[in-house]
Amino acid sequence: MFGLRGDRLRVAADREVCAGSGMCVRTAPGLFDQDDDDGRVVVLVTELRKDDVAAAREAVSLCPTGALSVDAEGESSGDV
C-alpha cells in the first residue's frame, strides 16, 4: 500500500510488550536500536523511506512479542 495515495508509513513500537530480543536490530539495524539499560526497542526512523519498508515489515513479522507495527499515517491497525 506504500505510495498508493501518497500516505507516509510510520513505525510504532509498544515498549510495554517488547521483550528486548533484539530481533528488530538484527533484521533492520538502520531502523531500530536497543535501550542500553533494559534492552527494549528504540525506533530510530519513524517515517519510513521507500527503501526501508521491506526491512521494517520483516522486523514486524519476526518480532517475538508483536511489539512492532507499520501503519499509514493516521491508521491504527498494526496488521501488515
Binding site: A19, G20, G22, D37
Partner: protein, 388 residues
C-alpha cells in the same frame, strides 16, 4: 535427508502424558509459534518436560532460587528480571565482546594443539568456549567453570543420576554462588553479576537463580549446538569445505545451522491460564501443551524446502531455535557470536579437521524418554573425536 517437517504440520492434538495427565501435543509451526507468543500461556512448570519421569530434574530446580530463573517464571516478575538483564546482552553490547570471545576461542584452540591429536572436540572446545565466556560475563574466575558445569551435567543426566544427587548438586552450587554474591557485594568487579547486585532490586534468592539461569542457559545449549554443528559439517566434507570457502558468509551459515540442526527438543511445556482457541481446538485453562519444535525449523510460508540445508539461505527464516515470545533466548546474540567465532577459528586453525572415527560410531544424545536412554531436552553428540 527427507523433509521431516511436512508430516508434523497438523493441528494440535490430544495427548496423554506418561504421568496420566491429558493435555495437548503441538508440532505444527504456526500453532507452536502462536502459543510461544501468547501471554495466555504460563511458563511456570507444573510437570516435567513432556510429563515424563525426569529423575528429579524439575524438583531439583523448584527451590526458592527458581524465583530468579527466567525459564520458570511469568510476568510481572519475569518482565522485571528480564529487563534488568537484557541491557547486558543487546545486539550492540554483545558485538563489543567479539575480541574477548576471539581470545577465548584462540586459547581453546591452543589447548587442542598442545593436547595433540586426536582430541574430543566436546571436552576440549565445545564446552570450554561458552563456559569461559560466561565466567567472564559473570565475573568469576575461569578456573571455577566446573562449579557451574557440574550441576548442569548432573541435572541433564536424567536417568543416570538420582533425584537426591540432582538436589545435592544444586545445593552445592547455590552455596557456592551465594558466597560469590557476598564477596561481590563487598568488593564489586566490572561484571554483570556485580552490577545486578549493586542495583539492589534483586533478592539473594533471585540473584542466585539468575546466576544459575545465565550459566545453565548459556553453556550446555551453545556447547551442544557447537559440537553438533562440527559433527554435521565434518560428516560430509563438502559442507565443511563450502563453509570454509566463504568466511564472509559465516552469519548466514550459522543461522542455517541453527535452523536446520535446532537442538532444542521441547522448550518446556506451557500451561493455559484461560481457555484459548488455537487452529480450531480449544485448549482449556489448566491444560498443558507440549511443543515439539526440533526438526529443521522455520516458517513454511517463508522458506522453500525446509528440509534442505543451504548455508547461503536468507537468514530471516523465522526458525525457533531460540524460541519465540517473551521467553525468546536472552543470550541469542552472544550464542551467535560464539558459534561464528568458534567455527571460524576451527576452520582457520585446522583446515584439515576431520572425524577420527566413523560417523556412525559417534555417540549421540538422542531425543527419547530417559527410561529409553535418551535426553528429552537437547539432542547432540556426547563426544566427538577429531584429528587434523
Amino acid at each position: 535427508m527427507s523433509d521431516t517437517t511436512v508430516g508434523l504440520e497438523q493441528p494440535p492434538r490430544r495427548h496423554r502424558f506418561p504421568d496420566g495427565h491429558l493435555g495437548w501435543l503441538v508440532t505444527g509451526y504456526a500453532a507452536g509459534r502462536a502459543i510461544l507468543a501468547d501471554p495466555r500461556f504460563s511458563q511456570r512448570p507444573l510437570r516435567a518436560v513432556g510429563g515424563i519421569d525426569d529423575g528429579g530434574f524439575q524438583e531439583a530446580l523448584s527451590g526458592p532460587e527458581s524465583a530468579g530463573d527466567l525459564l520458570r517464571i511469568d510476568p510481572p516478575d519475569h518482565t522485571r528480571l528480564r529487563r534488568l538483564q537484557t541491557g547486558y546482552l543487546t545486539v550492540r553490547r554483545v558485538a563489543e565482546h567479539r575480541e574477548a570471545v576471539e581470545g577465548v576461542v584462540a586459547a581453546c584452540l591452543d589447548g587442542m594443539e598442545e593436547a595433540g591429536r586426536p582430541v574430543d572436540l566436546v571436552e576440549m572446545f565445545a564446552y570450554p568456549v561458552p563456559s569461559l565466556v560466561l565466567c567472564d560475563l559473570l565475573g568469576v574466575a575461569r578456573s571455577e567453570r566446573a562449579r557451574f558445569e557440574r550441576p548442569t551435567g548432573v541435572l541433564v543426566d536424567y536417568a543416570g543420576s538420582s533425584p537426591e544427587q540432582k538436589k545435592l548438586a544444586m545445593d552445592e552450587f547455590y552455596a557456592y554462588i551465594r558466597g560469590v554474591i557476598e564477596e561481590k557485594r563487598v568488593q564489586p568487579g566490572d561484571d554483570m553479576l556485580s552490577e545486578l547486585i549493586a542495583i539492589g532490586e534483586l533478592s539473594d534468592d533471585e540473584l542466585a537463580g539468575v546466576a544459575f539461569f545465565l550459566f545453565a542457559g548459556g553453556h550446555h545449549t551453545t556447547a551442544t549446538m557447537l559440537s553438533l554443528s562440527a559433527f554435521f559439517l565434518l560428516s560430509e566434507r563438502e559442507r565443511w569445505e563450502v563453509m570454509r570457502s566463504d568466511p564472509a558468509g559465516i552469519d548466514r551459515a550459522v543461522e542455517e545451522l541453527l535452523r536446520y540442526l535446532n537442538p532444542i527438543n521441547d522448550p518446556l511445556p506451557r500451561t493455559a491460564l484461560e481457555d484459548v482457541e488455537i487452529e480450531g481446538v480449544v485448549i482449556k485453562a489448566g491444560e498443558t501443551v507440549a511443543l515439539l519444535t526440533a526438526q529443521p525449523s522455520g516458517d513454511p510460508d517463508r522458506v522453500e524446502d525446509l528440509g534442505r540445508f543451504d548455508p547461503s539461505r536468507d537468514p530471516a527464516t523465522g526458525h525457533l531455535a531460540f524460541g519465540h515470545g517473551r521467553h525468546m533466548c536472552l543470550g541469542q546474540h552472544l550464542a551467535r557470536l560464539e558459534l561464528q567465532v568458534a567455527l571460524e577459528g576451527l576452520m582457520r586453525r585446522f583446515p584439515t579437521l576431520h572425524l577420527a572415527t566413523a560417523a556412525a560410531d559417534v555417540p549421540l544424545r538422542r531425543y527419547a524418554f530417559p527410561e529409553h536412554g535418551g535426553n528429552p531436552d537437547l539432542h547432540g553428540v556426547e563426544h566427538l573425536l577429531v584429528s587434523w
